[in-house]
C-alpha cells in the first residue's frame, strides 16, 4: 500500500519507512513557532522543566503579532516576557514590532518553512504551511514547551481526505471561496482529526497566496493539517524565498495511497462564497444572502493579508470611496507586503478611498484590538472565524469572505458581489 504526502513526511521524521493512519509515532521537529498568546504559557511550562537550552536556537520562531503593537498593559507584560526569553535564549528568529508580520504569512515569506518539513506552532492556523507541501499543525502551550525542549513530539498519523477540484475558477472566485465552499460542504467537523489534501486542476492554477489561504482554513473543518502536493509553483516560491538555505523535500502521494474519503468537485461555475454568522461552515453564495448592511470591513489576517489579496481589493477600490458608514481597515500581513503595497501604489488607493491602513497585526480578527465591534454591529471580514464574540461584543456579527467581496461590500455598505462594483 502506498502512502500519502502527509504520511511520507511524518514517516521520514519518525525515522520509519512506512506509517499508516492511526499509528502513534514520535517525530523530529524542524520548527517550533509561538506568539504573544501561546508563548507566555509555553515559557511558564518550559521553565518548570529546568532545561538550560532550547533544542535549536535557529528553529524556534517567536512572533509578537496578536496584541501588538501592545494593545494594553497586560499584553505589554506578556510581550515583555517573550522579549526577555528570546534574548536570554538567543533565539535567532524573533520578530517584534517593526520586523513583525502575521506569523503564518511571515514564516514562509522569510524562508523558514521548506517543503517536506514538520513544523508545530502555538496557533491553530499553523496548518497554513501545508501550502508549501510541509506538514504543519497547531498545538497548545504544553506541547510547545516539550517541543522546544526536546525537538520532537508524539503524533497520531491522521487519515487523509482527498479533495479534487476540477475546472477553471471564474474571475471573481479565489482560493478563499474554494475553501469556504469546502467547509460549507463537509461541515466544521467534516475533517475532524484528518488531513485535507487539496488537489486537481483548479488547485494547480492557484497562486501560492491562494494556496496559503486554503490550507490556513483547514482547521475550520477540524483538520489536523491541510496540504497541497508541491508542483512548479511551489518550487518557484520556495526558490525565491529560501533565504535560510533550507533543504526541501518534495513529496507526492502515491497513486495507491489510502484515503478515508475522496471528494471530486467541478468548480467552474462556483460563485463567490460567504460564511454567515456564527460558523465558518454556514456558507452561501454571496448572491443569495439578500440585503445585509455592514458597519466594518476588514481586509487582512493570516488568511487573506497577502499581496494578491491587497491587489484584488485595490483593483475594486481604485478611484472609488468606501461607504461613509463602513470603517474599512486594511492590514498588510507582513512588513515586506506593506512595503510592496506602498511601491505599487496600493496603499495610496486605499487611503484615497477612505480606508485605514494598519501595520501588520492579528488585532481585529480575534477581537483583540484595532477594530473591535460594538453590540449589534456587523463586519464583513477576510479572516477565518466568525464565532460568537469573535470580533468583539457577543451580539456582533462577522461574515467571512474573500478580499474582493469585502472590498465590494465596503463600497456599497452592504454585502455585495464584486461584479456589481467593477
Amino acid at each position: 500500500m502506498g502512502m500519502t504526502i502527509t504520511e511520507k513526511i511524518l514517516a521520514f521524521h519518525a525515522g520509519k519507512r512506512y506509517v499508516e493512519a492511526g499509528e502513534l509515532v514520535t517525530a523530529k521537529l524542524d520548527g517550533v513557532m509561538f506568539n504573544d498568546i501561546s508563548g507566555p504559557l509555553a515559557i511558564i511550562e518550559y521553565e518548570k522543566m529546568n532545561y538550560q537550552n532550547v533544542f535549536d536556537k535557529e528553529r524556534i520562531y517567536i512572533v509578537l503579532d496578536h496584541f501588538t503593537p501592545n494593545a494594553n498593559i497586560k499584553a505589554a507584560a506578556q510581550c515583555r516576557l517573550l522579549r526577555r526569553f528570546a534574548r536570554d535564549k538567543q533565539i535567532k528568529h524573533f520578530y517584534d514590532v517593526g520586523l513583525m508580520g502575521i506569523e503564518h504569512a511571515l514564516l514562509p515569506e522569510q524562508g523558514l518553512i521548506a517543503p517536506g518539513e514538520l513544523v508545530i506552532g502555538g496557533d491553530s492556523h499553523t496548518c497554513t504551511y501545508g501550502a508549501l507541501g510541509a506538514f504543519s499543525t497547531g498545538v497548545g502551550s504544553t506541547d510547545l514547551a516539550a517541543g522546544m525542549a526536546l525537538g520532537k513530539l508524539w503524533f497520531k498519523i491522521p487519515a487523509s481526505i482527498k479533495f479534487s477540484y476540477q475546472g477553471k475558477l471564474s474571475p471573481f472566485v479565489t482560493g478563499k471561496d474554494l475553501i469556504l465552499y469546502t467547509i460549507g460542504k463537509i461541515g466544521v467537523d467534516g475533517a475532524l482529526y484528518k488531513t485535507m489534501e487539496f488537489t486537481g486542476e483548479a488547485i494547480q492554477q492557484l497562486t501560492m497566496d491562494s494556496r496559503f489561504t486554503m490550507c490556513n482554513m483547514a482547521i475550520e473543518a477540524g483538520a489536523k493539517n491541510g496540504i497541497v502536493p508541491p508542483d512548479q509553483e511551489t518550487e518557484r516560491y520556495f526558490a525565491q524565498h529560501n533565504y535560510c538555505n533550507r533543504q526541501a523535500l518534495f513529496y507526492q502521494s502515491d497513486a495507491d495511497a489510502k484515503y478515508s474519503e475522496i471528494f471530486e468537485w467541478e468548480v467552474s461555475s462556483l460563485e463567490p462564497q460567504i460564511a454567515m454568522p456564527h460558523s465558518p461552515g454556514n456558507v452561501k453564495d454571496v448572491g443569495e444572502v439578500g440585503t445585509i448592511s455592514i458597519d466594518q470591513a476588514i481586509i487582512g489576517s493570516c488568511t487573506n493579508g497577502r499581496l494578491e489579496d491587497l491587489r484584488a481589493a485595490a483593483k475594486l477600490l481604485q478611484g472609488k470611496k468606501v461607504h461613509p458608514y463602513v470603517r474599512t481597515i486594511i492590514i498588510p500581513a507582513t512588513q515586506s507586503i506593506y512595503r510592496q503595497a506602498i511601491k505599487e501604489g496600493l496603499v495610496d488607493i486605499f487611503v484615497e478611498a477612505g480606508c485605514a491602513v494598519s501595520t501588520p497585526t492579528c488585532g481585529p480578527c480575534f477581537g483583540g484590538h484595532m477594530g473591535v465591534l460594538a453590540e449589534g454591529e456587523r463586519a464583513v471580514s477576510t479572516t477565518n472565524r466568525n464565532f460568537i464574540g469573535r470580533m468583539g461584543h457577543p451580539a456582533s456579527e462577522v461574515y467571512l469572505a474573500s478580499p474582493l467581496v469585502a472590498a465590494a461590500s465596503a463600497i456599497t455598505g452592504k454585502i455585495t458581489h464584486p461584479q456589481e462594483v467593477r
Binding site: 498568546i37 501561546s38 507566555p40 504559557l41 511558564i44 511550562e45 518548570k48 522543566m49 529546568n50 496578536h66 496584541f67 494593545a71 494594553n72 497586560k74 499584553a75 506578556q78 506552532g121 502555538g122 496557533d123 491553530s124 499553523t126 497547531g138 498545538v139 497548545g140 502551550s141 504544553t142 506541547d143 514547551a145 516539550a146 466544521v188 467537523d189 475532524l192 482529526y193 482547521i219 477540524g222 489536523k224 460558523s279 480575534f366 477581537g367 483583540g368 473591535v372 472565524r385 464565532f387 460568537i388 464574540g389 469573535r390 468583539g392 457577543p394
Partner: protein
C-alpha cells in the same frame, strides 16, 4: 478518579472563543481566565458553577483555536471533567496536558440533561446519572492520563516522575 457534580449542558461545536474569549488572552493566570469562562454564551456559568461540576457537550467540543487557556479556564472554574460526543483535536490534547479529564461518550453526551447530577468513575469506566438513574459505560481513562490529571498536568507529572 471519581468526579461527582452537577451538569452544565452545552450543544455542538462549542468553540474556544466562547470557552474563553480572545479579548481575555492577555493573561495566563488561571483564576482570571476562569472569571470569563463561557461568558459569551452563558453569563450564569461563572456565577453559579460549583467546584466538582461537570460540562457535557455535543460534537466537536473545543473547536477553533489552539489556546491552552480554554481547558485551563474550564478547570480553574472548578469543573472536574468534560464529557462530549467528540472533541476537536487540539483541545483534546491540551486538556489532557493540563490535567483536565476529557471523555468521549456519544450516548451519555446525548442523554444527559442540564442540571443532572453525575457520578463519573474515570478509571472504572462508568457514568451514573443520579438524577435519572441511567448508567452509561465509557472507555476507562488509562492510568497515566488519570495520573497526569492528579499531578495537575503533563509537565508536573514528568518533573515529579524525575524526582522519584
Amino acid at each position: 478518579m471519581i468526579c461527582e457534580g452537577k451538569v452544565w449542558r452545552y450543544g455542538d461545536n462549542i468553540d474556544t472563543d466562547v470557552i474563553i474569549p480572545a479579548r481575555y488572552l492577555n493573561t495566563a493566570d488561571p483564576q482570571e481566565l476562569a472569571r470569563h469562562c463561557m461568558e459569551d454564551i452563558d453569563t450564569t456559568f461563572v456565577v453559579k458553577v460549583q467546584v466538582g461540576d461537570i460540562i457535557v457537550g455535543g460534537k466537536n467540543f473545543g473547536c477553533g483555536s489552539s489556546r491552552e487557556h480554554a481547558p485551563i479556564a474550564i478547570k480553574a472554574s472548578g469543573i472536574t471533567c468534560v464529557i462530549a460526543e467528540n472533541f476537536a483535536r487540539i483541545f483534546y490534547r491540551n486538556a489532557i496536558n493540563i490535567g483536565l479529564p476529557v471523555i468521549e461518550a456519544g450516548e451519555a453526551a446525548r442523554a444527559i440533561k442540564h442540571g443532572d447530577v453525575l457520578k463519573v468513575d474515570l478509571g472504572g469506566g462508568l457514568v451514573e446519572n443520579k438524577t435519572t438513574g441511567q448508567n452509561f459505560s465509557i472507555q476507562p481513562l488509562p492510568g497515566f492520563i488519570q495520573a497526569i490529571a492528579q499531578a495537575g498536568g503533563l509537565i508536573n507529572y514528568v518533573t515529579e516522575a524525575e524526582k522519584k
